[in-house]
């Protein structure tokens, strides 16, 4: 078994997979990689299961030493990583030798990077997932300086080693695509228009649970509703008139009107935006969105 030593832990370096499913009826958040697109890409490049546990690295990256041979891949935010002080490329298999030192440096672009390792990190599952969840405190706690992770050492390294580029992922994408949420129709046209015209700033208290936004609040008649399910990407409109976007660690049930639903692609985009960034919601006509009541029974 290989060991990975944390020389520096970084700001928030957590174990993630694609999430914890089947337990939302017990109030357990889904969690999982904030930017699922890049998390899957890292595992895909290594030929891993797409759900293999990997590290999510946020804003300030770690410094790591590998005690055994393996292969890794880095995707997502650009921390200008170096291996033994030499620059390495993202979206590419990287051969690791015993004693190699991997350092994440200054963040150049994006907010979250992923470090996948051949065959995934060896870690325990809680409720079917290795993902750390900040709200439910499930999974192994965020990494600390001096901590150790385990992996199977691997000496297999194939030569097909082209860097893959993601053609359609834009870091710093300010326009966040949204579909209509369940309470969308209960708001006036003016309220919706105002929400779509406003530029919002992502507040510093935003985290894996939710993104809090600052901007000009909308004024609307309060809407009484019974608590109902919410999901990652749900845009809630509390009485303050400032929308909140739930992210991967968000609760399962909420009582505020769900005005929009950010698309899966939109959640990944948000995951790569730092606090202080500005965003604007933009509606997309999502073909599957329709009132299914009008469907004829067979």
């Amino acid at each position: 078994m290989g060991r990975l030593l944390m020389i520096k832990a970084g700001l928030l370096t957590t174990m993630q997979d694609l999430g914890r499913f089947g337990f939302r009826k017990f109030g357990v958040p889904v969690a999982g990689a904030m930017d699922q697109n890049h998390a899957q890409l890292a595992n895909l490049i290594l030929g891993n299961d797409l759900n293999a546990p990997l590290l999510e690295i946020t804003l300030i990256g770690p410094e790591l030493v590998f005690e055994a041979e393996t292969v890794v891949c880095i995707t997502g935010a650009d921390f200008s990583p170096t291996l033994n002080e030499l620059a390495i490329l993202p979206n590419k298999k990287i051969k690791i030798n015993q004693g190699d030192r991997l350092k994440f440096n200054r963040l150049q672009q994006g907010c979250r990077a992923y470090l996948a390792i051949k065959n995934g990190f060896q870690t325990t599952k809680v409720l079917g997932s290795c993902s750390w969840c900040c709200t439910a405190e499930l999974g192994i706690t965020p990494l600390k300086k001096g901590g150790v992770l385990f992996y199977e050492s691997s000496t297999i390294f194939s030569a097909s080693n082209m860097a893959i580029r993601l053609p359609d992922f834009q870091f710093n994408q300010r326009n966040i695509p949204v579909m209509k949420g369940p309470e969308y129709h209960k708001f006036s046209k003016q309220t919706i228009q105002k929400l779509l015209k406003t530029s919002y700033k992502i507040l510093a208290r935003s985290n894996r649970m939710a993104y809090a936004l600052e901007g000009e609040p909308v004024v609307f008649d309060s809407l009484e509703m019974l608590s109902s399910a919410v999901q990652p990407g749900t845009v809630q409109l509390p009485p303050s008139g400032l929308p909140i976007v739930l992210m991967r660690d968000g609760q399962t049930i909420g009582g505020y009107p769900r005005i929009f639903q950010v698309t899966e692609e939109g959640i990944d985009q948000l995951a790569q935006l730092k606090s202080g960034s500005t965003i604007q919601f933009t509606t997309v006509e999502c073909t599957p969105y329709k009132d299914l009541l009008s469907l004829e029974s067979p």
């Binding site: 337990f23 009826k25 017990f26 019974l226 109902s228 049930i253 639903q261 009541l293 029974s297």
Partner: protein, 237 residues
């Protein structure tokens, strides 16, 4: 019932927007029907007071298929024959002054003894679980005990706290910020991430509360910490 797609792989079925036993029965029936009809392809079913959200695998199921199955339910009157557990939850009602029992009883014109008697005589129903992992939202709070949430939520409500929020009651399975009026505390652990079913409660389950004293609280607390299966259903008949 209205059914709408709410995400790329989710749909939402809604019943009349009230907290009622008939909604609970209908939603429970919908859950059972979907689980039986689609053994594969359902990711999560999230029941709430008057809604059921279905998360499904896009590759295996489509929304119209699920909607058609749910629609067929509309012609059936919900029955109450599905299997539900009955749980008795021990609660220490002693009011440490930082909680709300004394104040709440006074606001309701009741003595603490009267308040506790009304609270523990009722059988409650689990309508949904959420807010925190394993937090049961219980319906059936007698009207004399209804009380609005606190205007300023507490930053720290202890694990096991039993609270009243409006016409509902519930139990905090872990320490958390919270706005409900705290009337007591159970020593039972209600969320076990290492068990196959992390929470004992399912929607439709019946819950009763029974009063315990400080000595019993300590004893049950130890037992519950040692044995994740300490709490067992006490189903009548």
């Amino acid at each position: 019932m209205t059914i709408r797609q709410t995400g790329q792989n989710s749909l939402l079925a809604e019943w009349p927007p009230i907290i009622s036993q008939s909604n609970l029965l209908a939603i429970k029936q919908a859950v059972v029907l979907l689980e039986n009809t689609f053994p594969d392809g359902l990711i999560d079913l999230v029941p709430a007071y008057a809604s059921l959200t279905v998360f499904f695998e896009e590759d295996l199921l489509d929304a119209a298929q699920i909607a058609a199955t749910l629609k067929a339910l509309e012609h059936h009157k919900p029955t109450s024959d599905s299997k539900n557990n009955h749980w008795t939850i021990p609660v220490l009602f002693a009011d440490e002054s930082q909680w709300d029992l004394t104040e709440l009883a006074a606001a309701k014109g009741l003595t603490i003894v009267e308040f506790v008697k009304i609270f523990t005589t009722q059988v409650y129903l689990v309508h949904m679980i959420g807010f925190l992992p394993g937090f049961p939202y219980l319906g059936g709070l007698p009207a004399p005990l209804h009380h609005p949430r606190k205007s300023v939520p507490r930053t720290k409500v202890p694990k096991g706290a039993v609270g009243i929020g409006g016409q509902q009651t519930g139990i905090y399975p872990s320490e958390s910020p919270g706005g409900w009026n705290i009337i007591g505390q159970t020593p039972i652990n209600l969320f076990h991430p290492n068990k196959e079913l992390p929470s004992p409660f399912l929607i439709g389950d019946q819950v009763e509360f029974t009063q315990i004293d400080q000595a019993q609280f300590q004893k049950i607390s130890l037992l519950s910490d040692q044995d994740p299966f300490y709490l067992k259903p006490d189903n009548h008949g």
